[in-house]
């Protein structure tokens, strides 16, 4: 073997090891991110059961699952230290967005507010060996806004369930929330800085439209009922009061 050939092969063997390590690490982030996505979806489904179950039970269940997600984040954070945070952000962000969506829905149901980035970071914070409470990983503004802009679909589901139960308050809350969210997201979108944000707008619009239509039919029905059969309305209100 010639000298140049030997030198080339030695160098490329090293490059192969470097690239392999990089690809493996990227793969591990992808896997973690996918697991986080799956578990976050489960949190969402648990939360949506709130129209059938008591809030305490639903939130307890969500808390349980959130602890499991945190373990996954702990695993993923190992791969995202230092400059690797941005290096593998593209792989990490799907799971992170899904998680933000899940706890965003949670915050909405519990407090009727939009989750802040700080709140997201707080849920991801754990105590390190020096007793300092720090977030496990970085959440970029893009992660946050993209996660939050996935909320309409879930809020929409909750709203439709609430309509089924005749919960006017809930429907009202959803409507206000989505309208505000739309305004906010459109505002950020005008800046045009965040990639993929524009893809989320159609879902937001259709969610809003569905809710408005459903709310409209609900109102018409109630009006009509009040006109045709006032005593039934009184009876229904009494029944609702008794149930509460």
């Amino acid at each position: 073997m010639s000298e140049t050939k030997r030198a080339i092969l030695t160098a490329f063997t090293q490059y192969r090891d470097t690239l392999d390590a990089h690809y493996d690490q990227r793969e591990r982030v992808i896997k973690c991110s996918r697991d986080i996505t799956a578990l976050s979806k489960k949190i969402v489904f648990s939360l949506l059961r709130i129209t059938q179950d008591s809030p305490e039970r639903v939130f307890a269940d969500a808390t349980n699952k959130q602890k499991q997600v945190l373990e996954l984040f702990r695993k993923m954070s190992v791969e995202l230290q230092g400059s690797n945070g941005y290096k593998y952000n593209r792989q990490a962000t799907p799971g992170l967005q899904e998680y933000i969506e899940a706890i965003g829905l949670w915050t909405f149901l519990r407090d009727n507010t939009l989750i802040t980035k700080q709140q997201v970071l707080d849920t991801l914070s754990v105590e390190d060996e020096n007793g300092e409470v720090k977030p496990l990983l970085m959440v970029t503004d893009e992660d946050y806004i993209l996660g939050v802009s996935d909320l309409p679909g879930e809020v929409n589901r909750y709203c439709i369930n609430s309509i089924g139960k005749g919960d006017r308050d809930a429907v009202e809350r959803c409507l206000t929330f989505l309208r505000d969210l739309k305004e906010g997201i459109s505002f950020v979108m005008c800046g045009g800085r965040v990639r993929d944000l524009d893809k989320k707008i159609p879902t937001l619009d259709s969610s809003l439209e569905k809710i408005e239509k459903a709310y409209y039919s609900m109102s018409i029905r109630d009006e009509e009922m009040a006109k045709v059969n006032p005593s039934a309305v009184v009876a229904a209100a009494a029944a609702a009061a008794a149930e509460a």
Binding site: A7, D20, G82, F187
Partner: protein, 221 residues
């Protein structure tokens, strides 16, 4: 809900865009210098091997400018955000690497090592995947530069025949196949490097065709 959250976010994005603009301007400069250097270095295709040295000597200054251009990009980048903006200049740095690699080949008929890159461009090639603590040239950028060399080599094989140097294609062929053997050690994933790697075989083929033409006519042994 407070819309202030979104206003703050937008302000954040806005303040970042001035940084992006500066990086983008600096990158454009680097592209420009690279194009100029590439044009000068291309003259090597029109002269016999004996005159290669004059061509490479004529671009030495250009490499100093490229170094300065990269410095102008690097000064905007902190280690932790290195990969946030990396895509913005990566292509330009790939070009710069390709130029160094071609120049070194013209001068010494060998592959430019990571150390050569650092010598010419002033920045280290991160060949070991370690955490970025300063501005670096990534391994992928260096490898992209090597793929570009195959392109130049196939052109060079054809053009050396034009300037009546029938021995050179043989030398080029030998080098290209050794280098290709090295590249084949890599387990590439489906990314841009892989796609470009797949195109190397056409360059190799072209070099072999030149060999064939010369041999079939009895112009080389």
């Amino acid at each position: 809900m407070d819309v202030q959250v979104f206003v703050d976010l937008q302000n954040q994005f806005d303040s970042e865009s001035s940084l992006r603009e500066e990086i983008s301007t600096a990158t454009k400069e680097l592209f420009k210098t690279c194009r100029l250097t590439s044009a000068k270095l291309s003259k090597a295709h029109a002269v016999p091997k004996s005159q290669s040295k004059q061509v490479t000597d004529s671009v030495k200054e250009q490499f100093a400018t490229i170094h300065t251009n990269i410095e102008a990009i690097a000064k905007h980048v902190r280690p932790v955000t290195f990969y946030r903006y990396h895509d913005m200049w990566s292509m330009a740095v790939q070009n710069a690497c390709a130029l160094v690699i071609f120049a070194v080949y013209l001068e010494e008929s060998r592959l430019a090592t990571a150390a050569d890159i650092q010598g010419y461009l002033g920045y280290r090639v991160n060949a070991t995947n370690e955490d970025v603590t300063e501005f670096v040239i990534t391994l992928e950028e260096y490898l992209h530069g090597i793929v570009s060399l195959f392109n130049e080599l196939s052109r060079l094989a054809v053009n050396s025949v034009i300037v009546n140097d029938v021995q050179r294609p043989q030398e080029i062929s030998q080098f290209a196949s050794e280098l290709y053997a090295g590249f084949q050690l890599l387990n590439l994933k489906n990314d841009s490097l892989r796609r470009r790697f797949d195109s190397i075989k056409y360059d190799i083929k072209k070099i072999e065709e030149v060999q064939y033409d010369l041999r079939v006519r009895g112009l080389i042994a």
